[in-house]
Symmetry: C2
Subunit: 790 residues, 2 copies
């Protein structure tokens, strides 16, 4: 069963039936205001922080699914029949007995906007939802058309449910929260004025308004919905009239109503807006600014322009149109979304506890560095300010409250090196290393020292076998070997450490820090030597050592989990393994872990709870880390394969987990077919192939790195733009347009001999160059690059 | 609009229509297993602890309201029409166009059980829900009768949704929780076997079964409900067949189905059971024990016997039948419920954060001491073990995990004196003072020393004016004067302290602790002297001092809150005030705070947030502490009035907030008309008269104390049973049967002169005694007591 298709021309995913297997969502807003928006208008909005500045309510994991949302009801004033502009929540039938009762629907998720169209009983609607650039507001711009042959009177009712700002309190402390709400009507506006207090003593203000004169309103949920009813059949809509209720305690909402009289063929507009402001005066000022819908639609065009410019910085033209869709549109879009919101708020992350991840946000920079270098720089410095003087770091932090939490993750600080070096390679801004950033617990030091301390901290955590102590976990959150001991080790963090030191050495060299270079070169060699001596079990690299000193993730492991993806892929990615073992471990990975839906994180799954292994053993087999296809880690195998020169294998892995390939199997995959999910259920579960936790995942950034930098092989380095593709043999070539350090590179790669990898010649602006590094011209001009593989 | 009526003969409240203004609930289970049960079978169950051992799920503050629950669907196998045995969740019409589609309904909330009857399309059902004494199980004993004239085939489907044990995690951490569930079918049982891990490493086991052979089952919510559906229209019921799904990840449920073939007039039984066990073997053993429904109904009769015996320990016969209903049945029942579960889990307390309250649980003992002295003794010692060596105490604690939290409440430790002295007066067990109990942070000491340390701690918290430092708050949780300072004081804690010392002095005297007696007598005098000197503002007693040294709750207060209930009522109750001021302050309370729905906690309400006053100013005017009618504090005014001898006033206050008086105004009151709510909205709110937070409130115990001990005036003291009524003048008399220290007292009070108070004569077993204290006979016999007032 298919639920939709890509529309690359408009940069939209078109959903053609509303009952997608899970809500298929979009993220509106790139600055301070964020709106999670499903294909039937479900979801919620927040300002800056989904935990402490939640604007509207959403009921997670509820039945019926995906409520409430941003609802517009339409009511025929003659028949009394009513329906929704977005299918939910009234849910009219798509295949009814009489044609006249048929509900037609289309949803277009675009770049920062979602348009939902409906047609029912001769009335067509088009609702464009979006958050304009630079404003703390969301618009619902509605067009209603009378497609019937008689004059019609259609009454509109809106509905949103306000959250009392603190999302956790809002869903747990009812004996308190149900007595603090205040929402009132004022002209065509409703103000939600419940304070943020007592925590902060600050007052919040959200407002909802309509640019047309309203004829009624409700601020109290119970009044609007009525007893033992739901959003599907609110009493106010059923009877055709708001109650003009205010909220004093209880549950504040915003419902306004107005009647449109439509001649046959006539279209009318109404714009609704939901926003946050400091004062009512400010809110009213913004409200007035958008009195005319033309000014609202203008903002939608500006939003489209913004995204066109954003995406233009990396555009590819390959023989595979799905690759083009992902690289040019959806993968970039998802990367920006994860960069914006880390893992804080999705349809699976309740927006309450996660905040911004240290490890996550460092990795997320990799997916946006080509487009927004200034923001990346700011973010990396914010991350560095979450580092402690000893080199360790918060695991997560909350920018709004400037608080953070450590969590005992052994890998966290090292990711700062990867993000920093990626930033410098993109920008050439090596002076970044001299930027001063304060520690959580200490005075400011240059970024260069931050990186050095990250390495030093991890080196200080050496375990009995010379690997790194696992502590609570490493990247593999639920493999909790070292919660209660100083014995258990990770073999993967030494790989990350080795790669981190390599990147650090390049910086040290550029900055002419000779003694550092010498010192850390020697350290890296020792890390490498120990790793190769002790982590190889004869068949592949092991995953770690448990608290009893026994191997984990070894071919000899008895409890399951004989082989893990990470140590194999990173052995190659980091360069820590020799060529022979590199090839062997990737072959073993392919043999043991690859499935038709992607590479499992480990195999076989653990069957029962094992306290020495931790939370990984609480998952059902095939789910999450316990034998699931963890999509974040799949690109590491792709990159490793490109390093081995095996472009067919790399591309096969890429294609297997690629969202558009899921479109034909949406009823198995369940989640959105235009963006990545955190994991796909592994082969040891009855639901093999089912994806979970879509949108906010490191999968986005790493797949972009895999395809853009390693498969298509156009990647920045300190000296310039490296061209080093590793593609399927059958590809005859491809093109990439890449903006890099203030110049545009039009790269045309030909593959006449049908190789996977290898450059025969590079011609830049008509002149052959030696090697495969294009200089950084920084001249704001376009440069033609012709590459021949072979 | 009325929704039901009392049935005192059966000790039931009968609800005659399902759409009560809020869910009207009951609590099933008095030991380890608790089931919150609404009049339409909504609610959830937990084992021992609602936070960490939640058995089933409930969606708080949801639309539609009150879901999910313990549902039984009935489906006519010929027509395909389906409905619910408990109205929800299918919600058939009670007033339809055709009589044959009319849904008839009755709910009877009884003592520890709830019976819901339905009749629809010729099929009658009666479902008895209860938790038997001493078992971790709930039964749903169903009878289905064919009242039509033709043979019928009715298919039953059940539905409950399991919670993944940890209620907070279950509703917040979906990226984790949706991947750990496991529920499987085994014969006529479904096992929910998701582990409690990783936190504890322990496995949980809940089971659901049917005593008849089932024909299908579902363990997976999404399979049973179907996409974009709800409990109202599950796809499995609609199509008439379970999917036989197992849960591996996702949301585990228990649905089983079976078909009943019913001849005209025929009745068939089916019993469903939901329980927790350590192992599957144990679960299967219990399941088999109840294969025959006779054994199940036997357990229901035993439960009724248990409650009849419980209630028989205090039975009154007064001229007011509502008083009789409350004293003899519902107030006692609510008292036991609050004693069992403190404030941990209600329809307003999500069962996540509150645990057992130190202050709450001490007060709750006052309402059950006449019936379960051993449990009270155990509870008081558990409370004392939450005291610290310096005399302070936890504010709340979690018995399951044996953890607690302090909260900076200035009154907490003193309540231990009131519960302890009440226990000793009831039992005569003065040796209780020698029981050794450990402190949180120190070795065991006798209870007597625990009480002394409680006093000493509060004395050490003296403020600049000689009152007691407020700290975060006192009883008035949201009056947060002293969060950030050592200046703000409470004038009410000195009253509680004074009363506490008086009770302590009685004990010291009995135990012949002369030096303590002398020392604390002098201290009490100084507390009294300072209080009277500084707390009287000329009109009434003030509430405290703010952090700027200014009066709070004074006739001179500018920001509102000019008068508070507490300092007036406790001035009298504690005996700290002289007779003249006692009378004046209670008259002022009456003038300023009394309304037609009860006495407001303070007046006038604060209008805007004021950080020096705290959370009280975050409530809308008239809600909660901000000018609401806080029912917990109303009996303090009643008791004070009885001490002033003003029985008409005391009884008027009693009647005003008494639940049965709300039956005629249920659409204003909203909550249950058979039990007390925490507060009734005050006159400064548009919703004046609306009650909130029903069931778990100190209101229960204190109203029982007010009516039983002070208005009817039959109260234990060290020397015996005191008879000291203070009643309305128009009452000609009343009777009380009271079990006290192993003897039964049949007390017949006559009021020939129509007085409020005063005893003319007391005749015990035919002999006149001097004074009004009946000796404790301890002879297991009945004694006739004839009292003449005058």
């Amino acid at each position: 069963m298919k639920y939709g298709h890509l529309d690359n021309k408009n940069k939209e995913f078109v959903i053609t039936r509303p009952d997608t297997p899970t809500p298929w969502i979009n993220y509106l807003g790139c600055d301070e205001y964020c709106a999670l928006m499903s294909n039937t208008a479900g979801g919620y909005s927040f300002h800056r922080d989904p935990k402490d500045r939640r604007i509207t309510r959403f009921r997670y994991n509820n039945v019926p699914v995906d409520r409430p949302g941003r609802y517009i009801y339409l009511r025929d004033e003659v028949s009394g029949d009513y329906w929704s502009a977005t299918w939910q929540p009234v849910i009219k039938d798509q295949r009814p007995k009489t044609k006249d009762q048929k509900y037609e629907y289309e949803c277009r998720h675009g770049m920062g906007y979602t348009i939902i169209k409906s047609k029912y009983s001769g009335i067509s609607t088009e609702a464009a939802y979006f958050v304009p650039i630079g404003e703390n507001i969301e618009f619902w711009a509605l067009k209603v058309k009378n497609d019937s042959r008689k004059a019609r009177r259609i009454k509109l009712f809106t509905y949103i449910e306000f959250c009392l700002w603190h999302a956790d309190m809002d869903m747990t402390d009812f004996q308190y929260t149900l007595n603090i709400a205040s929402a009132v009507n004022d002209g065509n506006l409703i103000f939600h004025q419940t304070g943020y207090a007592p925590k902060s003593g600050k007052y919040g203000l959200a407002y909802f308004g309509c640019n047309k004169k309203i004829s009624g309103y409700d601020c109290d949920r119970e009044a609007f919905i009525g007893p033992y009813r739901s959003e599907s059949d609110p009493i106010a809509v059923e009877r055709g009239k708001n109650f003009n209720s205010m909220a004093s305690g209880g549950n504040p909402i915003a419902s306004v109503s107005l009647t449109l009289s439509l001649k046959p063929g006539q279209t009318k507009d109404a714009v609704f807006m939901l926003g946050v402001a400091e004062t009512k005066e400010e809110a009213k000022k913004i409200y007035k600014r958008y009195a005319d819908e033309k000014d609202v639609y203008q903002k939608l065009y500006e939003l489209k322009d913004y995204w066109n410019a954003y995406l233009s910085r990396y555009q590819a033209e390959t023989p595979d149109k799905d690759v083009n869709s992902m690289v040019n549109i959806w993968n970039q879009y998802q990367c920006r979304t994860t960069f914006n919101w880390s893992r804080s708020a999705s349809y699976y992350e309740a927006g309450i506890g996660r905040g911004m991840g240290f490890r996550d946000s460092n990795q997320d920079t990799l997916g946006v560095i080509h487009a927004i270098q200034d923001r990346v720089k700011t973010r990396i410095m914010e991350l560095a300010s979450n580092q402690f003087k000893n080199g360790s770091s918060h695991h997560k932090f909350f920018p709004l409250t400037k608080t953070g939490e450590k969590g005992g993750y052994s890998d966290d600080p090292l990711w700062l090196i990867l993000s920093s070096s990626t930033y410098m390679k993109e920008t050439g801004d090596i002076a970044f290393m001299h930027e001063l950033v304060k520690y959580v617990d200490g005075e400011a030091e240059p970024m260069y020292i931050h990186l050095k301390r990250a390495i030093d901290f991890v080196l200080s955590e050496k375990g009995p076998n010379g690997f790194v102590l696992m502590r609570f976990a490493d990247w593999n959150d639920c493999l909790n070997l070292g919660t209660d001991n100083d014995v258990a080790e990770t073999t993967w963090v030494p790989e990350l450490l080795y790669l981190g030191i390599q990147e650090f050495l390049k910086v040290a060299k550029i900055l002419r820090k000779e003694s550092d270079h010498e010192k850390y070169s020697a350290i890296a060699e020792r890390v490498k030597e120990n790793f190769n001596k002790k982590a190889w079990d004869g068949k592949w690299f092991i995953r770690g050592i448990d608290k009893h000193g026994k191997e984990v993730g070894s071919s000899r492991s008895r409890e399951g989990g004989n082989i893990y993806l990470l140590p194999q892929a990173w052995a190659v990615m980091s360069g820590i393994a020799d060529p022979e073992r590199s090839k062997q471990c990737m072959d073993m990975l392919n043999e043991q872990l690859d499935t038709k839906y992607g590479i499992m994180l480990m195999s076989p799954p653990y069957k029962e709870f094992d306290e020495k292994l931790g939370a990984i053993t609480t998952f059902a087999p095939g789910l999450k880390e316990n034998g699931g296809i963890f999509c974040h880690s799949n690109p590491w195998a792709m990159i490793a394969e490109t390093m081995l020169g095996r472009g067919d294998k790399a591309f096969k892995y890429y294609k297997t987990i690629m969202p558009p390939t899921k479109n034909r199997m949406a009823d198995i995959h369940l989640t959105e077919c235009y963006i990545y999910s955190q994991f796909i259920t592994g082969r040891d579960n009855p639901n093999f192939g089912r994806a979970r936790n879509s949108w906010l995942t490191g999968t986005a950034a790493w797949n972009f790195v895999a395809i853009a930098n390693h498969i298509l092989g156009v990647r920045p380095d300190y000296e310039g733009l490296v061209i080093d593709p590793c593609i399927p043999k059958k590809w005859k070539g491809f093109k990439v347009r890449r903006i890099f350090r203030d110049a545009t590179y039009d790269i045309d790669v030909r593959n006449p001999k049908g190789v996977n990898k290898g450059i025969k010649s590079v011609i830049v602006d008509g002149k052959k160059i030696s090697g495969n590094i294009i200089p950084a011209f920084k001249d704001k001009k376009a440069h033609m690059v012709r590459v021949v593989m072979g």
